[in-house]
Amino acid sequence: MNPRTRQTLEFILDNLVWFMLVFVLVVFSILIPNYFQLGIFANIIEASSVLGVMSIGLALVIIAGHMDLSVESVAALSAMAVGILFCSSGIGLGIQLQPQWLMVPVSLLIALAVGGLIGAFNGYLVVRVKMSAFIITLASYIWVRGLVLVISGGRSAQDLAPAIRWFGIQRLGGLPLTAWIAIACFVVFSLIMAKTPFGRHLVMIGGNETATFRAGIRVNRNLVIAFVLAGTIAGLAGWLLAIRTSGATANLGVGLLFNAFAAVVIGGVSLKGGVGTLPGVYAGVLLLSAINTAINLMGLPANFTQVIHGLLVLAAVLLDAFKQTIRQRLA
């Protein structure tokens, strides 16, 4: 195989998800009436903001060669914390701060802190106690969701303070500010992963942890930071979720983990670690969102989405394995 064919093939493999996204959008635009509109595309981006933010954190940890199953529950707990404090009906305490805008940074900080703490807990156990990240974060996935049920008593909080909800209502260039927050997160973390030593080190740790340790990279420190980041970002996703639903319910965000997981894998992140980029993950998120929108427009019962997402996860993992075989052929 000559170098140019190889380069082309590798380029396609590296950016497969973007090609898939374009393909899906074109097909839907042709086949589904009313799909091809700016409003629909804006809606696709808007609907993917919570999932997108959550996927960033998950992707960071998977790229570093580990796993974080707790992101969904962490987002729910952060959303519930914000909901209970700043909602005025249901179980909301309706705390008011003067001036009103002060509630924005305070609620955001609370959401991020909740996430960061659980992330630090996960990271500590993975690094110090050397337990499998899969098991630890599975446990967190369960107990954090349990905590949401405990503090809410199974009830919900409604009517989030208008100053906070403003982010979900105010639009800029056709998109609500929450969507811009998600896009900004992708830009910032993509740059961190591609351009800073920290990002480079995470990728290398995912590739060969022993080698990075021998090279003097502080592997444990980097891994703990990755878990804390994943938790914090999940906290941000929870904050966005609370804004989006104007409150929080006990089962808020159930199933998001598997969508995030699908987006990350479809986005080209290898579950073996060390491979994948965040722009790809964003394309994966948009792809899922585009499919959801199509299902809605076609008037299929919403329950179909779950079937399709399940199949997509399966397809993504198969695709991951398939890509690895091709890569080995190339090598």
């Binding site: 170098p3 480079r200 060969n208 080698a211």
Partner: protein
């Protein structure tokens, strides 16, 4: 040279009841090449890992440049000036040549106070380092998984030559190299030593040891079985030390 670069004083390592190293003592001077020989399982790699900070000794002490020294991590050893090339390659195959060359000590420039990788500067350094060593790698931006075993080892060897430090530990560095590359590798070692850097090289190939080393240290069953200057011994004598036919350190043979 007044004081030795590194002194090992009765360094021992136990794994439970198993004594991998029973008490190793020898020293390395600046600019000296020491070949560490011994049969499989004699404890050579264990010893290298202890010096390089990958393992902690059970007992004994080390002096580095006359000061008490014990690296708790490879990062500490590296900071002290000890470079290591391991037997199983320590490369991340999922990133490119440049990223591997600078693993853990990337060149950065500050953008708004945030360290950002300076890819161009790093690529230039790698280009120069590889060119001066005569290593040909088609593109420095290909991931290492696409390179041959020899090219991979060349990256590691060039890495230690470039970063230098004070002491270099090489654990069977030529296992994947061809004849010509091995010769160049041996040249590299002499060149590094001539800059005043101490070199410890583990090898199984007697010929290599005699080509490059100033002194030969033989380890057998966790103790030093022989420590001789190269020009005062012969391959046969060394083989006897490795297999234990001459009972060095066990009293005179009757």
């Amino acid at each position: 040279m007044s004081e030795p670069l590194l002194v090992l004083d009765n360094v021992a390592k136990n794994y439970g009841a198993i004594e991998a190293l029973k008490g190793i003592s020898f020293s390395i001077d600046k600019g000296e090449v020491v070949a560490l020989l011994g049969d499989n399982g004699a404890g050579k790699s264990t010893l290298v890992k202890i010096i390089a900070g990958g393992l902690e000794p059970t007992s004994g002490r080390m002096l580095f440049e006359g000061k008490e020294f014990l690296a708790k991590s490879p990062a500490e050893a590296k900071a002290a000036g000890i470079e290591t090339v391991y037997q199983d390659l320590s490369l991340c195959t999922n990133v490119d040549v440049v990223a591997n060359f600078f693993m853990g000590r990337e060149i950065t420039r500050k953008v708004l106070g945030i360290p950002v990788l300076d890819e161009r500067a790093m690529e230039q350094v790698v280009q120069k380092a590889l060119a001066s060593a005569g290593t040909r790698i088609p593109s420095l931006r290909t991931n290492v998984e696409h390179l041959s075993g020899g090219q991979r080892q060349a990256i590691e060897l060039n890495r230690f030559v470039h970063f230098g430090g004070k002491l270099v530990l090489l654990d069977e560095p030529f296992a994947a190299l061809g004849v010509e590359q091995t010769r160049r590798g041996l040249d590299m070692i002499r060149q590094v030593a001539s800059q005043g850097i101490g070199v410890v090289i583990i090898t199984h190939i007697m010929q290599q040891a005699f080509q490059v080393a100033d002194r030969i240290v033989v380890i057998r069953q966790g103790v030093v079985a022989g420590d001789v200057a190269r020009n005062k011994t012969s391959p046969d004598a060394v083989i006897n030390m490795i297999t234990g036919e001459t009972l060095a350190g066990a009293g005179p043979a009757s």
